[in-house]
């Protein structure tokens, strides 16, 4: 498959992910959208690595996945805390940083 296709696919997925983030109104789903965006980036990275025949791209993806996992853990813990405080996870009601 031409690498172009992969890149376009990655782009499409990324845009969809961002759109999902903006459209959704609860935290969990927004968090999921972030994961989608990360994956899209990973795809682009692997495709580039294949394009350049260099393994560095794959190493980067390896680390990205690892860090994303750690970040997901911590992020979810925070969401739990928020739920405990506010009894819901509607992102519109979390505006303590207002002003």
């Amino acid at each position: 498959m031409s690498p172009l296709a992969f890149f376009i696919l990655s782009l499409v997925l990324f845009s969809l992910g961002t759109l999902a983030f903006l459209v959704k109104r609860d935290l969990i789903t927004q968090f999921m959208a972030i994961e989608i965006m990360l994956n899209a980036a990973n795809l682009a990275m692997i495709a580039a690595s294949r394009l350049m025949a260099s393994l560095d791209g794959q190493i980067v993806v390896f680390f990205v996945i690892t860090v994303a996992a750690a970040e997901a853990a911590v992020g979810l813990a925070i969401i739990l805390l928020i739920y405990r405080q506010k009894k819901n996870i509607r992102s519109e009601e979390i505006n303590l940083l207002k002003g």
């Binding site: 759109l19 903006l22 999921m32 994956n39 025949a53 393994l55 750690a70």
Partner: protein, 160 residues
């Protein structure tokens, strides 16, 4: 093969946008991840593909589902104020999309020649433990930190 996997991933993400139930969202996401893993394999990155499926579709999605289970949300959402925000967001996305398409056009159209063991775990391992050793170790520490952090954050508070 590519088209199959591509279509599956896009459709699942689109579906995710339109679904209201979080549990279904999580499932759709898992499907998307798996198809992405397949795409990785197509790109001569077998190890990464496996890692993707194990960690993403496996561990992370399970984490999500656990949390979704703990957070029970049945209340309806109040009506959306400021609807224009969505349109604005979509517009911006379109712009970024177009810009990046232009960028992608400049890339070379064919893959360079690759070594026969391209993407082989052994090759990756060799790189990891020589050039990227430092990053590797730090990442390990990062994971430990994340574990400790999330454990601490999510602990049950003693009742006064």
């Amino acid at each position: 093969m590519f088209y199959l996997l591509a279509i599956i991933s896009v459709v699942s993400v689109v579906a995710m946008i339109f679904t209201r139930h979080q549990a279904y969202n999580a499932l759709l996401l898992a499907v998307a991840f798996t198809s992405m893993g397949g795409l990785f394999a197509l790109l001569k990155a077998p190890f990464i593909a496996t890692v993707q499926i194990i960690i993403y579709a496996g561990a992370i999605m399970v984490l999500f589902i656990f949390v979704i289970m703990m957070i029970d949300l049945k209340q309806p959402f109040p009506p959306l104020k400021r609807k224009w925000v969505l349109a604005f967001g979509a517009f911006l996305m379109a712009i970024i999309f177009l810009e990046l398409i232009l960028v992608i056009r400049t890339l070379p159209g064919t893959n360079s020649a690759a070594a026969p063991d391209f993407g082989h775990p052994a090759a990756l391992g060799r790189l990891l433990f020589s050039r990227y050793l430092y990053a590797f170790e730090i990442t390990s520490i990062l994971i430990v930190v994340a574990i400790v952090g999330s454990l601490y954050l999510a602990r049950r508070k003693e009742k006064k």
